[in-house]
Symmetry: C2
Subunit: 410 residues, 2 copies
C-alpha cells in the first residue's frame, strides 16, 4: 500500500515542481478558509480522538485538542506561510564560463517528503503547508491518538489542492498507524527524498537507525547556559530564568546551568532564588548544593537530560574549559549560551562550541524560525548537513544546474 502511495506522491511531485507560486498560494488560501468553514466537522472528528484518548496524560490530551481558537491560529499560521516569498524557481547563482557555457543554479523542490509525527494535529497543517509552499508532495504519518482529526484535516487539504488545480495526492495520509507502517515508510527511499521525524527521541533515533533516505534530524535540545566569572549577574539571572521558564517544553529551553566557581557564591543564590520562585526544581552538583540549600543532588542521568519541565541541572565549573568540555559531552548541537562581559571568553566560546546556535548574553529561546526572521519552521535541525538551526521553507528545496551551450564539447 505504501508503494502505491509513494508512486502517487511522485506523480503529484512532478506536477507540483512546475506549478506557479500563485497556484500554490491559492491552495494555501483555500486551506486557511476551509479550516474555519469546516470547524464543526473538524471539532467532531477531534472529539472522537479525545473520547478514545481518555486514558492519555492530561498533557497529551491538551496537545491533541482542537478548539475554535486553535483552528483560527492554525489558519493564521497557514496564511503566514502563504505570505513568504516563493522558495523555488529562484536563480541562486550564475556564471558564463570561458568556453561560453552559461551555468545557472536554480532552486527546485526536493520532491517527496515524508513526515512521521505523534499526537499534535497542528503538525499535519504545518507540515503540509510548508511542503506545498515549497512545491513538495508530502506523505504524512501521524500518531494513532490523532487519527480521526488527521483524517478530517487531510481530506480538507486534499480538496483544497484539487480546487487550486493541483493534484490531491500532493498530500496523503498513512491511515495505518502501526509501528510497521512507520518502519515501512522509513524504507521507501525509491519514492521519498527526505524523512522528517517529529517527536520524541526514540522516534528520531529509530529514523536515523532505520531510514534508507536522508533524515532531517530535529528536536532534541539539551541547551546549556554558561555564566562566566565576568558575567553581569542580574543579566545572567534574567536570561537563565527566561531560557528555563518561558516555555520549558520546547527544544530551545535551557536544561542546564554551568556557573564559574569564582562567581558562584555571589551569583548562584540570586539566580537560584529567581528559579525557585518560578517553581523550578534545582538538581545540583555538590558545590551547588552547598550554596543552594533547596537544591537536591543531581544524579549522573541529569547531565545531558532534556527535562522538558521546570527542572534545571546546575553545575559549578572550575573555568571556561570545563564548561566547554561539559557542553561538548552533553550538548545536542542545538543552542548554547555564554553570559559574560569578557570579550575573550565570548570569542573562545563562539570558536569552540559546535552547535546550530551559539549565544552571547541572550536567551537560547531565540532559536526559532520566526525570531530569526525566516518565518515558519518545521523544527530546529541539530545535524550538520543540508541545513542547521531553524528549518524554513527554503530548506525544503534543493537546486539543479541548468547549462546552456552552442554545441560545446570537452
Amino acid at each position: 500500500m505504501l508503494e502505491a502511495m509513494g508512486r502517487r506522491a511522485r506523480a503529484a511531485a512532478k506536477l507540483l515542481q512546475n506549478s506557479t507560486h500563485q497556484q500554490r498560494d491559492q491552495a494555501l488560501e483555500l486551506i486557511a478558509q476551509a479550516l474555519q468553514n469546516s470547524e464543526e466537522t473538524l471539532l467532531q472528528a477531534n472529539l472522537l480522538d479525545l473520547q478514545e484518548g481518555q486514558a492519555l496524560s492530561k498533557a497529551l490530551q491538551d496537545r491533541l485538542k482542537l478548539t475554535s481558537a486553535r483552528l483560527a491560529d492554525i489558519a493564521q499560521a497557514v496564511r503566514e506561510i502563504k505570505a513568504l516569498p516563493d522558495p523555488i524557481h529562484q536563480l541562486l547563482w550564475q556564471d558564463t564560463r570561458p568556453n561560453g557555457l552559461h551555468i545557472r543554479r536554480v532552486s527546485v523542490p526536493l520532491g517527496v517528503i515524508a513526515v512521521i509525527y505523534e499526537a499534535r494535529p497542528n503538525v499535519t497543517l504545518d507540515a503540509a503547508a510548508m511542503c506545498l509552499k515549497s512545491g513538495n508532495a508530502v506523505i504524512l504519518r501521524g500518531g494513532k491518538e490523532a487519527i480521526h482529526s488527521n483524517t478530517a484535516l487531510v481530506s480538507l487539504l486534499r480538496s483544497a489542492c484539487l480546487k487550486a488545480g493541483l493534484p490531491e495526492d500532493c498530500v496523503q495520509l498513512v491511515e495505518d498507524t502501526s509501528r510497521d507502517s512507520a518502519m515501512a515508510l522509513m524504507r521507501l527511499n525509491t519514492y521519498v527524498d527526505l524523512l522528517i521525524p517529529r517527536g520524541g527521541q526514540s522516534l528520531i533515533r529509530s529514523a536515523i537507525e532505520n531510514a534508507t533516505m536522508s533524515v532531517l534530524e530535529t528536536g532534541e535540545g539539551v541547551c546549556h547556559i554558561y555564566v562566566d566569572k565576568a558575567a553581569d549577574i542580574p543579566m545572567a539571572r534574567d536570561v537563565v530564568v527566561n531560557a528555563k521558564c518561558s516555555r520549558p517544553s520546547t527544544c530551545n529551553a535551557a536544561e542546564c546551568l554551568l556557573i564559574h566557581k569564582d562567581i558562584a557564591k555571589e551569583a548562584l543564590p540570586m539566580i537560584a532564588r529567581a528559579l525557585l520562585d518560578r517553581g523550578v526544581a534545582i538538581r545540583g552538583d555538590a558545590a551547588c548544593c552547598r550554596i543552594v540549600p533547596e537544591a537536591t543532588p543531581a544524579s549522573d542521568d541529569d547531565w545531558g537530560r532534556e527535562f522538558n519541565d521546570l527542572i534545571m541541572a546546575v553545575k559549578v565549573v572550575q573555568n571556561l574549559d570545563e564548561a566547554l568540555e561539559h557542553i561538548e559531552r552533553y550538548g545536542t548541537k542545538h543552542s548554547e549560551a555564554i553570559i559574560t562581559q569578557d570579550e575573550a571568553a565570548k570569542a573562545r566560546f563562539f570558536d569552540s562550541v559546535d552547535a546550530a546556535a551559539v549565544y552571547h548574553n541572550a536567551s537560547t529561546r531565540f532559536t526559532d524560525g520566526g525570531e530569526f526572521g525566516f518565518g515558519a519552521e518545521i523544527g530546529i535541525a541539530t545535524q550538520k548537513l543540508h541545513c542547521r538551526g531553524p528549518v524554513g521553507v527554503s530548506n525544503l528545496t534543493t537546486y539543479k544546474y541548468l547549462i546552456e551551450g552552442r554545441g560545446q564539447t570537452r
Copy 2:
C-alpha cells in the same frame, strides 16, 4: 580500534576548526613538497602493491600504479587545492533583529569525514587535501590492493600536518582492509559527521543501506543525451561522440542516446557512423537496429546501465515525453542533455528533468568541479540534500549561527 581512531579524529577536528587558513595551506604546501621529495619511498611501497596485485585486471593495475609523473600531477593537484579561497570562517549572512539581537551565519568545518574507497591511491591525496583545506579531520579506509601505497602516503600526510603545527591525527588510515572494518566505520556516527563512499555501486549502496551518519552519494552516472526532432544534426553528432568517447570510464560520460523518431532516419546513420568509427559498440532497440545494421539488439539490462566503456545504448523515441519518461525511469540524477534548436522543447526538458546538471546543446562531460569553476571536487553528488553536482571544498562545510545580545529574553 575504530572507536579510538574516532576519538583521536574528533580531538584533531577540534583543533583544526580554529586553525588559520595559513596553517592549513602550509600543511598542503609541505604535502606537495613531500610528494616529490619522497618519490623513491612512495614508488617502492607502490611496487609492493603492484607485485601483490599481479592477478588484478590490467585496468585495475593501471589505476593502482604510481609513477614519477603521476606523483607530480598529484602534487600539482594539492597545490591547486591550496590556491582556493578559505571555505571556513566566512560570513555567509547577517541580520540585526528588531530586538537588537545580531545574528551571523558563519561557515565552519563539518568535523570528521570518513572516506571509503577502492584501489586508486590518488584518492588518498585528493580526499586528505580537500578535508584539510576545509578544516576537517579525515579517516581514510582504502582498498587492500593499495595498502602499501596508502600507508606510505598517509605517513607523509601526517608528518606534514605535524610540521605545520596541526595534529597528525588530522589524517588517519584504517589499516584493516577487511569488509568488517568498512562496516564498522559506517556505524561510527558518534565520531564521524559525514561518510563519503568512493567507488562502485555496491560500495555506495552498502553505505546508504548501513551507514548511521549522513552519506554523500556520488558516482553513479547513467547520463542520457536526447536528440530532439529539431536538433542540429552535426552538433548532435559531435556532442554525442564527445559525451561517449572522450573518457568513457567517468561518471559524466553518456551511456544512452535517445533520438526522436522524426529525425532518426536522417541523423542516426551519421551519429552511429561517428560512434562506430571511434570503436563504440551500439546496443539498439528494434527501430535503431533497423536503421543501423552494425547495432546489436539491446537487452533489458542495457537501459539504465553504466557501461563505463565504449558501449552505447540507443533508443528511438516517439516524442519528448517518451524521452522524459525514459530518463526519469533509468537516469541517476547526474547529468542529462537535450540537443535541439526548439526553445519550447528545451524549456520542457529543463523544467521536467530532475538531475544535478541539465544540459542544452552541450556535452554531459562538463559536469566537473573544474569545468564549473569550483576547483577540485571529491565527486559528483547525485543526492538532493546538502549539495548537488560537483562537490567542492566549500561543500565540506556547514555553518553555525553566532548570536550577540545585551541580555535579551523572549
